[in-house]
Symmetry: C3
Subunit: 310 residues, 3 copies
C-alpha cells in the first residue's frame, strides 16, 4: 500500500486502503472504554482546522480525535481572518504551508476546494465536507458502523432517503457501501433526485416501493433548512408526511428489525419523529462515537513520515 | 464519601463534600507559585465547555484549571452549532455523550438545564451558572476565599448587596456561607429583593441599618446592565447613590477593617468606585485566583473512575 | 544580559538582546524539518492571547509557536467578554493577573496598551501589534528573514513601500533594519508619508527615484482596505499604478535580483500582481515560517524564572 498524503474522497481510495482505515478504527474505539483515552503517535504534530462553513459537530469530532492521538490542534478562524480582508484561499494556503503544519482539515461549501488546497501544500489534507461533492470521513464512519451490526456487508441493502441531489453524504456513503458489496437505493421526491445516477443504484418515489425492496439499513439524510425556502422543496410538514420516518413507517422498521442511520444533527418532526429518535435499532449515536475512532484511524494512516504498511 | 458524578448546586452537597473540595483546593493553589503549574491526574481526559451564555472569565477559569490538571479542553461553539439548526439541547447531549467525554461544563440562561444534561450523560456535568438558580463553583471559591482571611467562618457575618432577586451568585454563595456557619444578610432595593427568603437571612433596605448589623464581609453583586432598561431597576446613578459602595461607605469598610468581595466583572461607578477597586481589604482578585484552584479541586474530585475517598 | 519580562517594542531592546533572539530562532526553525516539532521548555506554562483586534494569522503563529514549546494556550475571547459589559482593560488585566498566567500576547488598535498592561501584571507581555506604534515580533522575523538571504545586513538597503504613516510594521521593521546596519528608505504618496521621519531615512515619491537608490530588499506594506474609503488615499487602481509592484516594476526586481518582502496578507492587484506572488526572490512565505521560529525564540527568551544568560 503506497503511503498517501490526503483523504479527499472515497472514489480515489483502493479497497485495501478502505479496509486499512476500518480495521485500525476498532482498536482506537476500544481505547474509549479506558479512563485514559489518549495514545502518543501524533505527539508534536499540528492539526489545523480550516472551516469555511460552520460545523461544530464535525470540527469537535476531529479535534477530539486529534487530541486522543496527542496532536496539537489549532483552529484557523476563517470568519475573522484575512478571508474578510479579501485574501484568496490559495494565499491562505501558502501561509499555512509556511507554518509547517502536519494536517489541514478543511470544510468548504464549494466542491473541489480541498483538492485545490491539497495540491498546494505538503500537509495532509482531509476533506471534512465540500459542497455537494464528498464527505469521506462520514462515509468511512458509516461503513464502520454498518459493519458493527451487519458484519459482512456483501449482499446487504441500504436505502438512502431524502435530499439526494444536494447531499455529499449521499454521494460518499452510497459509494463506500457499494464498494463494500452492498446494494444501494435512493428514495427522494423527484425534485431532489439527481438527474444522473449510477445504473446500479435503484430509485424509489415512495416508501411502499422502497420497503418492498427489503433494505437492511434505512439511512435518513438531513433536510437542510435553507432548502425549505426554495421552490423545489415541499414544506417541512409535507416532506415529513411523504418522505419522513413517520411513526407508521417506524413500525415497519421495528417489525422487520431494520437498522436506522442519520448523519446528524436531526430535524425532529421533519426527517424523524421523537419516537424515531428512541428507536432501539437506531445507530445515530453509534455513528457519532465511531466518527471519532474512524477520524483517529484516518489521521494515523496519513501521518507524515509513516512507513509504508508491509 | 460516596463518589459523585456531577456538581449541580450547593444544596445537594454534604458538609463532608464541601470540606473535601475546599481542603484540596489549597495544594492546587500552592502549585501556582511554581514555574511548572501542571500536574498529571487528568491526563487523557477530555473536558468540553458548553456555554449557551457567553462568559469569557468563567470559561477561561475552567480551561486553565483543566489544563493545569493535564486534561484536554475543547469548546463546543454553541453559537455556530446545530443550536442554530434547531437541534434541541438533549439531541446535542446525546451527541456529546457518544463522544465519550469525561466532563461537560455547562452554562445556560435557563435554570435546571445542567440537571437535565446530567441525567442524560455519563460524563461529569459541572454547572457553571444556570439562570437565577445556582453557580456552585462560584460559591465554593467564595467560601475558600472567605476562609483564607477569616479562618473559621462560624459566627461571622456576610452582607450581600444588590440584585438578589436575579442572582445565582447570591443564591449559591449565601447558601454555602450559611452551611459553613456564617450569618447572611441581604441589602437590596425592594424591587430586587426576592419575595421568599429563608427565615435565617436578615434583610435591609439601606446601608445604615446594614452597617449596624456589623458584617465581616461586604459582598457586592454585579449589576446586570441588561437590567438597567427594566422598569423595576433605578438608573445606574440612582443605584450607585443608594446601594453602591460610595467613597463614604468605603470609608466605613476601611475604618472597621471589613473585607470586600465581588464575583466580577465590576461596573465601576455603579456597584463600586475607583477607590473601592483599590481597597486594601478587597478580595476580588483573590477570588479569581482561587477560582482556578477550586475548579481544579472540583475536577479532581469528580474524576471518572476515582476511588472513593477513605 | 539582564533578564527581561516583556517585549513591547524594538526601541527598548539592546543589540545583544536582538542578537540573542535571532540566534536562538535558527535551531527552533531546524526543528520544523523533523516530524516531532515539539520541545519541552515551556511545559506547564500558560500563554493567553488577548486580541482586541482580530488577526487570525498572527494569533495562529503565536499559538503554534507556544504549542511547539509545550506551553498551554488559551484565547481570551474579547468579543464575548466583559469588554462588552464595559469592563476596562485594566480590570481585565487584574483578572488575568490573578489567573497566574505566564504570558499575555496582546494586540490592540490603540498604541501603548501593551505597555499599560505590562506595568500591571507579573506575566510576560508580548506586543503583537498596537495601533501605529510597534509590532516587534514582525520586526524580528523580518530581520531574521533578511539575514537568511543577505547574511550580514550592514551596508545593505531596504526600500519600504506604502502607507508608512499608519504602519506599525514600517516603524518596527525600519528600526530593526537600521539597528542591524541597513540603510532604509520610504516610498509613499505624500498623504501617507509621516511628517516626522528620522534624518537617516531617505524618502521617495516615485519608484524611479527609489530604484535609482539601489535597494537590496523591496518591502511592500499592506494597504488597509479600511483606508480606501478615506480622502487622503487614492483608489486601489490608482494606488497600484503609482505605488504597487506592477509587472513592469517586478521586471526591475527580477533583473536586479532584488528580494521581495510583505508582512501579509497581501491584496492582489493592489500592492502586488499575481506574477509578483510567484516571484522567485519573494520571501513572503519564508517570513511566515520564520515568524513561528522567532516567536518561539521570544517566548523562550522571556520565560519566567529563566536564568540570566552568561
Amino acid at each position: 500500500m503506497t503511503p498517501r498524503k490526503d483523504l479527499l474522497d472515497i472514489a480515489s481510495l483502493s479497497n485495501e486502503e478502505i479496509e486499512f482505515v476500518l480495521a485500525n478504527a476498532a482498536p482506537f474505539k476500544d481505547l474509549f472504554r479506558r479512563s485514559v483515552k489518549k495514545v502518543p503517535p501524533l505527539r508534536g504534530r499540528t492539526v489545523l482546522t480550516l472551516f469555511y462553513e460552520p460545523s461544530t459537530r464535525t470540527r469537535s469530532s476531529f479535534e477530539v480525535a486529534a487530541s486522543r492521538l496527542s496532536a496539537d490542534v489549532t483552529h484557523f478562524d476563517v470568519e475573522f481572518s484575512s478571508v474578510v480582508k479579501g485574501e484568496s484561499i490559495l494565499d491562505t494556503v501558502e501561509t499555512l504551508e509556511a507554518m509547517q503544519l502536519d494536517y489541514i482539515v478543511v470544510r468548504h461549501k464549494q466542491a473541489g476546494i480541498p483538492n485545490l488546497i491539497a495540491r498546494n501544500t505538503a500537509a495532509s489534507v482531509i476533506n471534512a465536507g465540500d459542497g455537494w461533492h464528498a464527505h469521506p470521513t462520514q462515509a468511512l464512519l458509516d461503513a464502520f458502523t454498518a459493519r458493527e451490526v451487519l458484519e459482512d456487508l456483501r449482499g446487504r441493502r441500504a436505502l438512502i432517503v431524502g435530499d439526494i441531489q444536494h447531499s455529499r453524504v449521499a454521494r460518499s456513503t452510497s459509494l463506500i457501501f457499494r464498494r463494500l458489496g452492498m446494494e444501494v437505493a435512493y428514495l427522494a421526491p423527484g425534485s431532489l433526485m439527481p438527474r444522473q445516477i449510477p445504473d446500479e443504484i435503484t430509485t424509489f418515489g415512495n416508501w411502499q416501493d422502497a420497503f418492498d425492496w427489503k433494505p437492511d439499513i434505512v439511512y435518513l439524510l438531513r433536510v437542510q433548512s435553507e432548502r425549505l425556502d426554495e421552490p423545489f422543496f415541499p414544506s417541512a410538514t409535507e416532506y415529513h408526511n411523504n418522505f419522513g420516518l413517520t411513526d407508521a413507517r417506524l413500525k415497519v422498521l421495528n417489525d422487520r428489525k431494520l437498522w436506522l442511520m442519520h448523519p446528524g444533527p436531526v430535524n425532529r418532526g421533519v426527517e424523524i419523529t421523537d419516537a424515531g429518535m428512541n428507536y432501539e435499532r437506531s445507530l445515530i449515536n453509534q455513528q457519532v462515537e465511531n466518527g471519532i475512532a474512524v477520524r483517529m484511524s484516518v489521521l494515523y494512516w496519513l501521518r507524515p513520515g509513516a512507513a509504508p504498511v508491509a
